[in-house]
């Protein structure tokens, strides 16, 4: 098993004819993901190395039976594309696009809450990889193999770092989920941790958080009350000064809110072990899985 993407995934890429969209769609297909279609308005009828392109998501869903969308269009068009995918009946939307305005994300989030069947991952995320099954997004699959550690992270490269350290100790992953670094992510730590808790393949959950927002604190409470599997956390940004956006639009300490120290403290207060470095996270994982 795995979460969010697997062998049932039928992917349609929005913005498939763009440079990045083409590259990663083909990459995902090469991994084994069923990339069944793409959407680029005005390019309906064309194909990208055999992947049919449609003008609208409705047509793509009707013709290719897609159930998952990957959003690669530029920020000004991304919110619209997400809403279009949901309107067309897509139930899993993975938005890679970085730089979507926060008010667009607010509207999208609020609208999607009205259609609970739709799950949005991202935006500004590396996607989801379920090793051996499907890869949707830009996660370099070569570093990961099948296993029982579920990883959820706000950051892409940090995920690779953590995943790599786990791999070096011999652990594989059920799924790697990037929830993205924006202020209003479509899915939260809690959402994904709940999926891992329910996933029989996952035996250990690693969450990689960072400064800004309160998703880590909410996860801490949720884990305490609802999660039976061991969870290890990492938090980045202990040295970040307040008021500065650290790369991710969502990674900012506002006044005294959202500090790494507070997040680590909240997690530990709720019984979650927090590794101080990616290496320490991998060490704790090894300890738990060995025990």
């Amino acid at each position: 098993m795995s979460v969010i993407v697997d062998r049932e995934t039928r992917l349609c890429t929005s913005g498939i004819t763009g440079r990045e969209g083409t590259f990663h769609s083909l990459n995902n297909r090469a991994y084994g993901t069923a990339v069944v279609s793409g959407v680029t308005p005005g390019k309906g009828g064309q194909d990208v190395e055999g992947i049919p392109v449609f003008d609208t998501f409705r047509e793509a869903v009707a013709q290719s039976d897609a159930n998952t969308a990957m959003i690669f269009v530029p920020p000004p068009f991304a919110a619209d594309s997400i809403l279009e995918a949901a309107d067309a009946g897509i139930t899993t939307i993975i938005a890679i696009t970085e730089g979507i305005p926060a008010h667009d994300e607010l509207r999208v989030y609020t609208q999607l809450k009205r259609t609970p069947a739709v799950r949005l991952i991202g935006p500004n995320c590396p996607g989801v990889l379920s090793p051996g099954k499907a890869n949707v997004g830009i996660i370099p699959a070569a570093f990961f193999r099948e296993g029982n550690v579920g990883v959820v992270s706000r950051s892409g490269t940090l995920t690779y770092q953590v995943g790599n350290e786990l791999a070096q100790r011999g652990f594989g992953n059920s799924s790697i989920v990037g929830i993205g670094g924006d202020p209003v992510p479509g899915s939260s730590f809690v959402d994904i941790i709940a999926l891992f808790e329910a996933d029989p393949e996952t035996e250990l959950i690693v969450m990689s958080g960072e400064i800004g927002g309160s998703g880590e604190e909410e996860a801490a409470e949720y884990i305490d009350q609802h999660v039976s599997k061991p969870v290890i956390a990492y938090i980045a940004g202990f040295t970040a000064p307040p008021g500065k956006t650290m790369g991710h639009a969502g990674a900012i300490v506002s006044g005294t809110h959202g500090t790494a120290a507070a997040k680590a403290a909240a997690l530990e207060a709720h019984g979650v072990r927090v590794g101080r470095t990616p290496t320490e996270v991998a060490d704790i994982a090894a300890e738990i899985l060995a025990g």
Partner: protein
Amino acid sequence: MDLLEYQGKQLLARHGIPVPKGRVAANSEAAVAAANEIGYPCAIKAQVQIGGRGKLGGIKIAANEAQAREQASAILGMDIRGLTVHELWIEGASSIASEYYASIVLDRAAKAPLVLLSTRGGMDIEQVAEETPEAIASLHVDPLLGFQAFHGRRLAYEAGVDGDVVRAVGAFLGALYATFVKEEAMLVEVNPLVITPEREVVALDAKVTLDDNALYRHPDNAELRDLSAEDPQERMAKERHLTFVKLDGDIGILGNGAGLVMSTLDVVAQHGGAPANFLDAGGGAKAEAITAAVEVILSNPKVKAVLFNIFGGITRCDEVARGLIEAFDQIKPQVPFVVRLDGTNGVEGRALLEEAKLPNVHAAATMDEAAAAVVELAK
């Protein structure tokens, strides 16, 4: 993007929110001219993006031209918590019957705008929240439904606003919400929100943070960016499209991906080092980006050593290595580098570096090892 007070007020005024009349001035002469035009008494206010200016001497009331000249000269060039005052805002001194507080912030936990109203204006809202939480009314607005008249009434009555201005304060909050949405702000804060003896509602201060990601839709706002207040190194990084934040230390940092860079800063600090910057070369960084990044890092004379921490996903380590070699060729750095290259094309990248035999460049196998090494070298 944080606006200066006067920029924020002009933004509010565009949406029909009453603000005192005022003018900007960048030197004493202009300040005096503005004060004369506005009349006395008037307020002379340092334009810096920081709270608590008043207590630090950044706001003065001038009763006449002589005072205006004297105060303008004193405030211009002042250092307020590390920020130099380049501009003044001169505005008519307002009569005040009551001081309230109003703000709207994008609440990330609730994923909705959070509106706050308090009758204890003029002081720090976190302090009010601690001392008299009952003096703050708050509610979340559904982003699709928007701010309704009843939201205004509810906040006004719950905060205990004077009965005769309930409607006016509600309307003010409605206009503030419209500003927040239309300008795509992350924060609009009015403190104090003043009720005049004539029972008018006026924004006496304005703190506005705009969403950088939305500036492309607001070209007027995009131009407000106060370059003079930005650090020259940050400006240089921006021109090169690099994500850069200046820090206080002496170890230059470059990595790919915001999370990994933040983590790198932390690990360096754990080893006793002090990072000089945050620099994310981005996903898929190409050689030119690396060269530009090295230039930016080294433009800070405090930097005593540099750590390159790359875990290649989309980014290819051989590209990074090529960029670094190119940078060394062009810039000929005088400080030691520690380079950790892992991930996509890591073998090729490490081989290229080894071949190039760059002076004073040390390879490290892991992030941890790299951090330890660079801290040692910077001593």
